[in-house]
Symmetry: C2
């Protein structure tokens, strides 16, 4: 719910708990899940900004610990020098990494600072988990970085604003994620928002993509009532080691075939 | 037809002529259209290798001149130091550029040398035309190069070997081309082979994609008879200047938003 930190802590922890009850090992939550997205001023964002020490992460960790799982979710981060659109990687031990979005979308630039480092790939009990946030996925340089850094899967908290698209087409952002998955042979799990917020209708594009580039699960679409708690969930069983072999024919290798002599590493 | 240079010169020139009769301004032919693809030895490829001075290009140019058009097609190139999987950009004035494929697919490495330069973007009467060949499109570094170099459209001669895909899905290679178009806001026209050659079944994925990333024309599928002359054609009317503006919201700009400080130019 927009700008309702207490409600969002409860709702996100409940969602993680439900996923863990369902035996999830990796749970991805939306971008800015603790705060909402549709800020109109920096002051509004600052009012719900939290640090990585906020108890919400301990709550997620507590749920994760029940299944040795990993949770990746977005939050509005209070930094020493401003606020960031960030994502935390949390496991039973607590916050393993925080990534600050490096490609700020449109008006986000008015209240967020951009991160100064490319996203991490975190070694976890279930595999190597990379992180990207929303608009980041539209930059193949960033997803390539994650592939080369060894990501088995990229967790993508996102808030995709709805745009019209041709009938029968997937959201364009999902097409980009499919391409990023395929050219890097890594799975990608995008968790989008649902419903509307301050008049902003979301794409509801939650999709899990295998390391072969094909979607293997999509979430349903929320009911028109638009209750913020009426969210849909996508689940899939993936072998996270499936994409580690980049050679896929006798002589073709998606990484070794890169012409780094022509375009750099 | 495989290894039949004389027949392929006639057939490709006829195809260009038909397209020009139909008022085409840009005609894209398949990869290795003069030679066929399914070589088994270097000697087979050498036997049908030609230079950029071969009369086939004058024939294409003669057809192009009738409508101030541009033709891009693949050929097996005899170079000073070996043979290349190349594409020529031809207009009324003749051969404007030759690009030697930089990402060789699988067994191509056994007979072709790889090009030593990224593909050109050629200023023509109809706009700025970039070139890529087949597997090149699986490397976002190459398509990004073409976007940054100012391509309005990328002509992609290709020979996509058929692979099984999930029911209802486009060929994976088309998904990659759609993503490359969208993140660079440039159109892409892929011309695939049809039928089979030495048992190799082709994807028949010929598709024209707009600078918004959505396909606007696909070719039909050839008849089962597999007559090499039974090829299908995709045609579309595109505004080649449509993608030049990379800013697509008030504050989002697909090129200016790149974090070159983090991943280089």
């Amino acid at each position: 719910m927009f700008a309702d930190l207490i409600a969002n802590v409860a709702m996100s922890t409940s969602a993680v708990g439900s996923a863990i009850d369902g035996k999830a090992r990796l749970v991805v939550l939306p971008e800015l899940v603790t705060s909402g997205y549709a800020f109109e001023t920096a002051a509004e964002a600052e009012a719900v900004a939290i640090t990585a020490h906020h108890p919400v992460f301990a709550s997620w960790a507590e749920q994760a610990a029940r299944n040795d799982a990993v949770v990746v979710g977005g939050f509005c981060e209070l930094g020493d020098d401003g606020i960031y659109n960030s994502a935390a990687v949390v496991d039973a031990s607590g916050v393993r990494a925080v990534y600050r979005k490096t490609h700020l979308w449109d008006r986000e630039k008015l209240w967020f600072r951009a991160g100064s480092a490319l996203p991490p790939v975190v070694d976890t009990a279930i595999g190597r988990i990379g992180v990207a946030i929303c608009y980041d996925v539209e930059f193949p340089e960033l997803t390539r970085h994650l592939g080369l850094a060894g990501a088995d899967i990229v967790a993508v908290p996102t808030n995709w604003p709805f745009h019209e698209r041709p009938v029968g087409e997937r959201p364009a952002e999902v097409v980009l994620a499919m391409a990023a998955a395929r050219v890097n042979r890594m799975a990608i799990a995008c968790c989008d928002r649902s419903g509307t917020e301050r008049g902003q209708h979301w794409t509801e594009g939650t999709t899990i993509i295998g390391s072969d580039g094909w979607p293997c699960a999509v979430a349903g679409i929320s009911a028109p009532a638009n209750d913020p708690a009426d969210f849909a969930v996508a689940t899939a069983d993936l072998d996270l080691t499936a994409g580690r072999r980049k050679r896929f024919t006798g002589l073709a290798d998606l990484f070794a075939d890169r012409r780094t002599d022509l375009y750099g590493p």
